[in-house]
């Protein structure tokens, strides 16, 4: 099993044991999540978002051994990030007393970020090509032409490939949402 497919709990266990490759994967796995909370959930400026991002991972690195439930790393990271964002906003308000009050967390956006993380976990179960294609088109805003050139695929097939990958993703997500056997719902 490659590091990218390890469950969170196993990844955290390896990080706690000092495995630096596992740490690299942990940062890679949660970097977009933390970035989204900072920039989308709290609308931080790039400078503030970078400070929060670095401080967050420094705290995670220092305090990971205190996490009792290794599988709960995502809510723990979310809580730490939210707290750092709130502190940053509060500090900004203190330094600019005449400024308009800054927005607090956007609750809907935070819920959507969690939903997006679950979709991303489902994407990770698709083929490498589908993962690459969906990420380039949706998360990196690449055009069909760029995707075609960089992945060396015929330009005319990109749209249909993306549609097929979305179909597979939907099937994967529906499978996850099926009620367990014997459930009444």
């Amino acid at each position: 099993m490659s590091l990218s497919t390890l469950p969170d709990a196993e990844l955290v266990r390896r990080c706690k044991a000092g495995d630096e490759d596992a740490w690299n994967e942990l940062v890679a796995r949660f970097s977009r999540y933390v970035y989204a909370i900072c920039t989308r959930g709290f609308r931080l400026s790039d400078t503030d978002a970078e400070d929060v991002f670095q401080e967050l991972f420094a705290r995670v690195y220092t305090n990971l051994h205190t996490l009792r439930d290794d599988a709960a790393v995502r809510p723990w990271i979310a809580q730490l990030t939210r707290r750092l964002c709130i502190d940053t906003l509060a500090k900004g308000e203190r330094e600019r007393p005449d400024a308009e009050p800054l927005p607090d967390a956007h609750g809907n956006d935070l819920a959507e970020i969690d939903e997006a993380f679950e979709v991303r976990e489902a994407v990770a179960t698709l083929s490498d090509t589908c993962q690459e294609m969906l990420d380039r088109f949706f998360a990196r805003d690449q055009s069909y032409r760029t995707i075609s050139e960089e992945l060396e695929l015929p330009a005319g097939t990109i749209a249909s490939r993306i549609a097929r990958c979305l179909g597979k993703l939907r099937i994967e997500l529906e499978g996850r949402n099926q009620p367990p056997p014997g459930s009444r719902e």
Binding site: Y35, A163, L173
Partner: protein, 85 residues
């Protein structure tokens, strides 16, 4: 995630988690290395009086003189630790 996702909604959710800037990710991934370097410098400063005094006199120059790469996190943390002693 309870509701069935349409293609449009799925696309919107895929757009939410955009890549963080590469430099930010790399800096976070290099934390273990930065911590090791920091510990090494502190250990040496405790054992080597001349080195410690050079650090106190001009931290950044002393580090550069010993061939340490300039890392703002290490410099800030060293400043904090040296001021505590």
């Amino acid at each position: 995630m309870s509701e069935q996702l349409g293609e449009e909604r799925l696309g919107a959710l895929l757009r939410v988690l955009r890549p963080a800037p590469k430099g930010w990710v790399r800096a976070a991934q290099e934390l273990p290395l930065a911590r090791r370097t920091l510990d090494e410098i502190v250990e040496r400063a405790e054992a080597d009086r001349a080195f410690r005094e050079a650090l106190i006199a001009d931290l950044e120059q002393a580090l550069a003189g010993e061939g340490y790469e300039r890392d703002p996190r290490i410099v800030a943390e060293l400043r904090r630790r040296l001021s505590e002693k």
